[in-house]
Symmetry: C2
Subunit: 137 residues, 2 copies
DNA sequence: TATAAAATCTATCAATTTGGTAGGGTTTTA
DNA sequence: TAAAACCCTACCAAATTGATAGATTTTATA
């Protein structure tokens, strides 16, 4: 399941993608428009900024705007930024790999192979869902 | 990600599936064989029993055994029993459906449609991973 | 240059979940 | 009749989640 943070991030990106080119959105606008607690959204936007999905302008008339095309922001990336691994176990993960401590040897891990298949299929599906694809209903 | 409970459940089922037909396995055997904390495994086996994946025989020389074919136990079922919904949001879930409270109307929920696509693909993949498929490496 | 508006930074917090452990009680059967 | 298993209830510490609060910095413009 997606955390609230990841869900809010997607909704915020969606909101930004729906604004006209060059428009800068204040946090409060996004919060009201997408129904997200404002203070919580602040943190999320900073995370999105660190992830280079959005950029910001400080001071009066400042705000946030997309710096990545809505066609290039995928569900997979947002999942990884906020919720981490897409695989079902760390030992089957590409980006968040860790050994399973309860498996004596890596080869012996009976689950790993099957879970890598799931990971590949889920990842492929998640890479196909973009902010742009979510807009056109 | 899978919880430890779900992971241990899969490993326990795998252990049982690898025993010869008619064999009954004691908790301690499974715990040692699959490297699972024994007391924790007890609870998991009870859950698996309630879920009608295994049955048990009490008393001396008692233990657990599969009552469902290893070809018919899927990752999807185990995920749902221990970790709940497969969908990324409750509003996109088949078996654990709940409305998103932060969406004014259901149709308005911009994420729902995309997440239902992911759910369908993930579910299909998870239904293809069975205990039997995990055994043949 | 003062000031208002906005992002940014740093803490804190309560509630829930997770990953167990402890310690029995109950039932079966050699 | 005692051993060996299942079964049950409660508890616990640590981590995570979903926020909130308040102070600080930056910037446009009157």
């Amino acid at each position: 399941m997606l955390s609230h943070k990841a869900k809010y991030a997607l909704k915020a990106l969606l909101y930004l993608a729906e604004q006209e080119e060059g428009h800068i959105s204040k946090t409060i606008e996004i919060a009201d428009g997408a129904n997200i607690p404002k203070k919580f959204l602040e943190q999320i936007l900073l995370d999105l900024k660190r992830g280079r999905f959005v950029s910001s302008k400080q001071g009066k008339f400042g705000g946030y705007y997309l710096i990545k095309s809505k066609n290039d922001i995928t569900l997979a990336e947002i999942h990884r930024l906020f919720d981490g691994a897409i695989a079902l176990l760390p030992c089957a993960s590409l980006n968040f790999y860790e050994r399973c401590l309860d498996c004596k040897t890596e080869e012996e891990c009976s689950l790993r192979h099957g879970l890598m298949i799931i990971r590949d299929e889920t990842l492929k599906a998640m890479q196909n869902i973009t902010i742009a694809s979510l807009i056109k209903k």
